[in-house]
Symmetry: C2
């Protein structure tokens, strides 16, 4: 494959980028706060950033329950921001960083697409400024320090069977899911069962993404529970006395990364926690910085509004003491047809009936967002195979139901393709917002889970199965039951069963385990199987990648 066969990368490579200093100036970031990484990327030295101005309006981009290919949330986020810029609004984008594992696996890239991308896409998709690498080595240094403490006399009385802290790599590597470590005799560590997660599943990632500054980061790292001792008491990083070293390794990673969209809008691309076992949005620092610099900050959260969206509003907004002024729900004709019962291979065939059937899923997302006191706007993200009839049917359905909606053609047209969407969002922003999280942490973890299950997922009941009842008792015993809950659920369904599409009702939500993440400040509730280490497909995207004779990349998309 050559570069010419790859539209996203080709568009990005053909684009003439502005020097990052110019972008910073536009964003009101002083030159002396920039730590340059080449000509088009800079970290922002937060020590050089003054007090925030009047906060910008915050637009959250979420989605309906997605197809496996995704519905174009990042693309919409970027295109919408460029549309705001075209309308003369001082706009900042805040996005997650792509993970390398999935890029080499299926994704091939994760910086938007077509004419709605953040650039330089090649660098952002590969090592960028090294944040994920820093998180990886901080995570793994901590793991080695835990095992070394056990090996060197075990002064903290750690039960090797109850080490919680796993190692991570930014590789889709199923071979490392279940392993036995420490074999080879007394000089080679302590034998125990273990496993690797992908780096975006590290609690260090969640912690970095919620920290407000270096001090807060160190405090959160200190609080992380790495193991339990033989008396079943938690052992934290503070007791290992290595929070300083781990924070030191993350010092640069905590500074947000400034890049630009193809439309020249300043964009902060920073952090990228999973949207299932973590909260699924970019760093608090990037969001706060984006909010403090312009008229409008546009950000996104992973998977559908039931996952990343709910967590943005119940976890991140709670910690950050803000809320979205508008929520965009990205929908596609493809996803609507899937929710209407169409099989994956038939999604490119026109099917208005199935599409209308599938609106049940979108309707539930709209209703859910309203429960947080925010008015949603549907962005119908156009794909090449969508027919005019299907698009009209979807937009008519929205109008008939009194939902704000607009067609979005940002992949093909950039910001110009989202001007009507931008108008709709600006109208939504002007409406009075009475944002609030949907549960109160003081009412306890069971109430939080039940509220989300019933209000957001449409479940009739919550059942605690497997390890969950014991885990719940342990949470209460340790006083950890008044934190927000981070639901780890399939992104494909409102229920914990990925095959239940549309808007299932009356189902039972099964909680399998509850994992306290004291550093992040939330409790992960596992429902169904949640994969924390993806595998590679039979034909990994890596097979298509390379460098041409001029040293230019190909195969990213």
């Amino acid at each position: 494959m050559t570069a010419s066969e790859n539209p996203d990368l080709k568009i990005a490579q053909a684009h003439t980028l502005k020097p990052i200093g110019e972008i910073a100036e536009k964003a009101g970031i002083p030159e002396d706060a920039l730590i340059h990484y080449g000509k088009h990327i800079a970290k922002v030295d937060m020590k050089k950033i003054g007090e925030p101005k009047e906060p910008a309006k915050l637009v959250l981009v979420s989605a309906l329950s997605p197809t496996p290919a995704g519905e174009g949330k990042s693309t919409t986020t970027v295109g919408l921001a460029d549309a705001f810029s075209l309308k003369g609004k001082n706009t900042m984008v805040a996005l997650r960083e792509p993970a390398l594992g999935p890029i080499m696996g299926v994704k091939g890239g994760a910086t938007g697409g077509g004419y709605a991308q953040v650039v330089p896409m090649e660098n952002i998709n590969l090592h960028f400024t090294g944040d994920f690498h820093a998180i990886q080595i901080a995570n793994n240094t901590l793991a080695a320090l835990v095992d070394n403490s056990i090996h060197q006399g075990n002064p903290l009385n750690i039960d090797p069977r109850r080490v919680q802290w796993k190692r991570v790599v930014d590789v889709n590597d199923r071979e490392l899911r279940n392993i036995v470590v420490g074999l080879g005799g007394p000089a080679q560590g302590v034998p125990r069962e273990d496993g690797f997660d992908i780096v975006v599943a590290s609690e260090i990632m969640a912690v970095l993404c919620l920290a407000t500054d270096l001090k807060d980061l160190e405090k959160r790292i200190s609080d992380i529970v790495v193991a339990y001792n033989y008396d079943r008491e938690p052992v934290t990083v503070r007791e290992l006395e290595v929070q300083g070293a781990i924070t030191l390794l993350l010092k640069d990673a905590l500074n947000p990364n400034l890049v630009q969209t193809l439309g020249g809008t300043p964009a902060l691309v920073h952090g990228g926690p999973f949207a299932n076992i973590a909260h699924g949005c970019n760093t608090m620092i990037a969001t706060n910085l984006a909010r403090s610099l312009g008229d409008i900050a546009v950000t996104e959260a992973g998977f559908g509004s039931d996952l990343g969206g709910e967590k943005f509003m119940d976890i991140k907004s709670r910690f950050g003491d803000f809320g979205p002024d508008a929520v965009v729900i990205v929908a596609t004709v493809r996803a609507l047809k899937m929710h209407g019962g169409v099989k994956k291979d038939d999604l490119n065939t026109e099917n208005v009936d199935a599409l209308l059937e599938g609106t049940s899923n979108l309707r539930k997302h709209v209703e859910n967002v309203r429960k947080f006191g925010v008015e949603p706007v549907i962005a119908l993200n156009r794909f090449p195979n969508d027919t005019e009839k299907e698009i009209k049917a979807a937009l008519d359905w929205a109008e008939e139901n009194g939902f704000k909606a607009a067609l979005s053609e940002v992949w093909a047209k950039g910001g110009e393709g989202a001007l009507e969407l931008a108008d709709q969002v600006l109208k939504a922003i002007d409406e009075p917002v009475k944002f609030a999280p949907i549960y109160d942490t003081e009412d306890g973890i069971e109430n939080a889970i039940e509220t989300i299950a019933k209000e957001i997922y449409g479940a009739s009941e919550v059942q605690y199965v497997g390890s969950a009842p014991a885990a719940l008792r342990r949470l209460k015993k340790n006083g950890w039951d008044k934190m927000p809950v981070c639901m780890a659920k399939t992104q494909y369904s409102f229920s914990d069963d990925p095959t239940k599409l549309g808007a299932p009702e009356g189902h039972v939500l099964h909680i399998r385990d509850l994992i306290p993440k004291l550093g992040a400040g939330f409790v992960v509730a596992l429902t169904g199987d949640v994969m924390t280490m993806p595998g590679l497909p039979k034909q990994p995207a890596a097979l298509r990648m390379g460098l041409d004779d001029n040293g230019e990349a190909f195969g990213l998309f």
Copy 2:
């Protein structure tokens, strides 16, 4: 601990660095070839560098057989280069990058010391420009692709018991030395024995450090043997068809990193392979660039002249078609006394007799270097506890034996502390050099090993034990027996027994295994136990590290 208790970091932090553009100008590197990483670090875009001028004189800094604490090779390299700069010579330094694992373990830092450091030491010692992270993820992506190929139907018929490619982390993590991976059933990979190495032991590191450009890098990566199939035939990266993706991940890492010494001398700090199972010196690209820009290029190689030094001259010089014009052998009073039989705890007590006894080791290193046709210069690197009597005894001994030698006080005085050493080296450079590697690869691998064993190590005999005889047959069968040999031997002794100090003679060198590294282009010969994954000590250096209230690092040294 605070910053004030840490002299190296304190000196580095107190120093006012020149903008890296100024350093580049001094080095003759055009501004448009700089890819900035903050104000004081830049990668040099090799695509923007023209043809080399008349090559500079090349000075290799090596050492006698070291104590566990090291003898100050990097410190001497930096100080000597600054001394050349003070004498008006246009000088470039080429050094290895530090590995994070040992920094968090025992070392605390590896960028020289005192007033002979490369700076910014904090950044260089932590993530720097991410080269090691890129190598780590390239290595581990390749590992996942190998196991995925086995998992997905095993089209290359790979024998899971004969996978050669190990995963790596840049952490001292003994827990990962011997592991079992792929447990959990058919969906979770293929169960097999495995283990992690530290990142500097990766063949990707060796390959990156020997590659001359991107094309050569991709060719070398293609040649790597990752496994053997059930017919015992080698399986290479080329057959996996992922050399493009792996090279893509290393694209930026291949560009050398420009920094400065405390004396303002331009320094390229790039790559860092082990000096036992790999060749132990910075990248070929950095050495070639340093040679093409000034009057004098000063570089170093790991451990003593029997390891890194021998490999620099027999492997790197052979591939690069150059040779050192002078070799500096760093010696210390401490190491001489150790070789004279003094125990570790008594090394700070004056003992001239033991020192003179220990010169047997240094004499052998001098004689060895002469065998390559190069005149060595001894740099007696002063430590605070050395007495005047000891220093005089060592220098008198050198003079009586007709060896070039000078006291080096660069830790305390920077370049000013190496002016006499610089004069001695300049004299050595002016002598006619008839450099040549000491063996011819065409004479076969056994001849190469025997030549090194007898000429350099003083052994009387080579014995092939354990897996070695079968490995030798396999090398011959596959036509891999005409490559240079990379000896993996303890750094503490000329023999394969680390307790045999001084200059042992008549010993038997045991070859335990022979491992072809087709990408690097050499065969590793294992003698004794060679550790490819270090462990952490009881009190890791990480315990002392952190950030103060101003966000400044402490605990690096």
